[in-house]
């Protein structure tokens, strides 16, 4: 019988230090077994438990897109004991990945609509996955205008900065990169994400908004989206909570009756309105 707690063994193929504070690293993982890779069918918005033998597991959103075959990408902030241990790993080391877990962004439902993507800090990971997926030639024409607003503290804190620069140049996605305060190294937008979003004023007609970021950004983004005319059904958020099993059993990540790990992490604002704010 399939053991849902058993991680697939993977090799760390590449490690990239993403940010100037060196607290965020991206790990490109390659499956040791082809069969495992084939079994790992994921959709943008899902996450996986990264498993480090001797340290434990951490739930991390999948930053790569299923359109990028051959590897998985995870960007991890150094916070606790497992993420610290992960930051100390080297290319070539063996670890585990368990997943994919959780639901995903409702990519099918979003078809035929404009998509507004709002990201803050390192929460951009699963949104990077989503954008990469949407921009793939096989999918791009299913969606309308793509607006992407992404804010970080300072220029050195952008994740995937090469890709961001590339997206800024494309005309099939409107990219708004912003930093919190003026910085000598920056001649782009300055200001908080909600303000930038308000300025960009994407149309809410036949559109959905995907929002992922720190709680404070989410709090101030919601009124802006409302003002722009987005209904609660069209505002889509991704939650995070402490997790262990990742499969809706161990009982700690629930928000009301919903398990963030299995019923989430993606919820509409309309859904969250009916639930306790235990996240």
């Amino acid at each position: 019988m399939n053991n849902p707690y058993l991680p697939y063994p993977v090799r760390i193929d590449k490690i990239v230090v993403e940010t100037e504070d060196k607290n965020l690293r991206s790990f490109r993982l390659v499956f040791l077994n082809k069969a495992d890779e084939e079994a790992f069918n994921y959709i943008p918005g899902q996450f996986a438990e990264l498993s480090l033998a001797g340290y434990g597991e951490i739930p991390i959103g999948i930053a790569s897109s299923p359109t990028e075959e051959g590897h998985l990408l995870f960007t991890v902030n150094k916070v606790g004991s497992v993420s610290t241990a992960l930051h100390n790993m080297n290319e070539g080391d063996i670890m585990g990945v368990r997943g994919p877990l959780g639901n995903s962004y409702p990519l099918e439902k979003m078809e035929g609509k404009d998509v507004v993507i709002v990201a803050g800090g390192f929460a951009v990971t699963t949104l990077r996955s989503t954008i990469t997926w949407i921009l793939d030639p096989a999918h791009r024409e299913k969606y309308g205008r793509i607006t992407f607003a992404y804010g970080v503290r300072s220029p050195g804190m952008f994740l995937y900065s090469d890709e961001m620069k590339a997206w800024e140049k494309r005309d099939d996605i409107d990219t708004f990169l912003t930093i919190d305060r003026e910085h000598h190294d920056w001649n782009g937008l300055v200001g908080m994400v909600p303000a930038v979003l308000e300025e960009a004023a994407p149309s809410s007609e036949n559109a959905v908004a995907l929002v992922c970021g720190p709680p404070i950004m989410i709090r101030f983004t919601q009124p802006v989206l409302e003002k722009l005319g987005f209904g609660d059904e069209d505002i889509i958020l991704s939650l995070e909570n402490r997790m262990k099993c990742g499969i809706g059993i161990c009982g700690r990540c629930n928000v009301g009756p919903e398990y963030v790990c299995k019923d989430g992490p993606v919820f509409t604002k309309a859904e969250l309105n009916k639930l306790p704010r235990e996240y």
Binding site: L32, L52, I94, G96, C250, R252, K274
Partner: protein, 342 residues
Amino acid sequence: MAEKILKKSGLDGFLKSLGESYKVFGPMAEGREIKFGPIEGGILLDFQNSRMSPKDFFFPQSERMFEFVTGSSSEEANILKSCLTEPEPRLVYGIRPCDAKAFAVLDKIFTNDQYTDVYWTTKREAVVLVGLGCNSPCPTCFCTSVGCGPFHEEGLDVLVYDLGENLLLKSLTEKGGQILEKAEGLEEADEEALETAAGLKDRAESAITSVVETDKIEEREVMELFEAPHWEMVQERCLNCGVCTFVCPTCHCFDIQDEVAGQVGDRIRNWDTCMSWLFTVHGSGHNPRPDKTSRVRQRFMHKFKYIPMKRDGDIGCVGCGRCIVSCPVNIDVRDVVRDMNL
């Protein structure tokens, strides 16, 4: 379905004969405690509820899930190997109907529409449960209020009625039927025995005088219950010790921990408790359940609202009363549910 009579004096022989195909467990006195252990000496024929629930049969407090070697010495290093073994066939005699019902509740939790917790199911499937109905329920029992009862059959393979001189064995599943069929020295139950059994059941049910209602909990919205004022009263005296969760037959929350000794490591799962601050705290330090109120509320909401919402209306409590008996500050689940149902 078969209904057979076994002389009480023949119980030892009956269990011994089952010992050929199963490892047989039964209730035993261990000091003040009642424990289900391998039958060697005599088992208890009549006993009140055990202080700890027997959930550890399938969900041990600490369980080795995986093992691994650390370092980089071998190809296999840092790759987890499952410690799941083919479980031995076990038969448990004397499980109380509430505890069996709890197993049935947990069956639905450890298996959901996407995943099967193999550590639970493999052990669970290899067990035959021979339950013993409760002729004299405890004053803290309220099983009849939560979809269970002193002779409830859910989760059991065989239910035993203690008729005095004799035991009436009623098979409830195919597994149970086979056991009764194979066993020697059983007689077909006659009309009189069946009537006595029915009488025992009625008497036991009417002896349970604590009644709680849950109909309004079902109707109410999550947020209405969540924001009710009575939680403040409950939390005020709650110690957040979590004894309730440890003795509870349906509490199933767990933690997963890695431990390494030298070059060998294990991934262990341990019972955890929603009463603990650590249970929900994020790596960032943010805690979505930061206070006693939110933690104690979670336990009752989980059992009486969230589980029914997600598991076809089944309440996540079987009314065994263990938490009432063990709570150091006497938080009585019956009172809490009454407040929720107001």
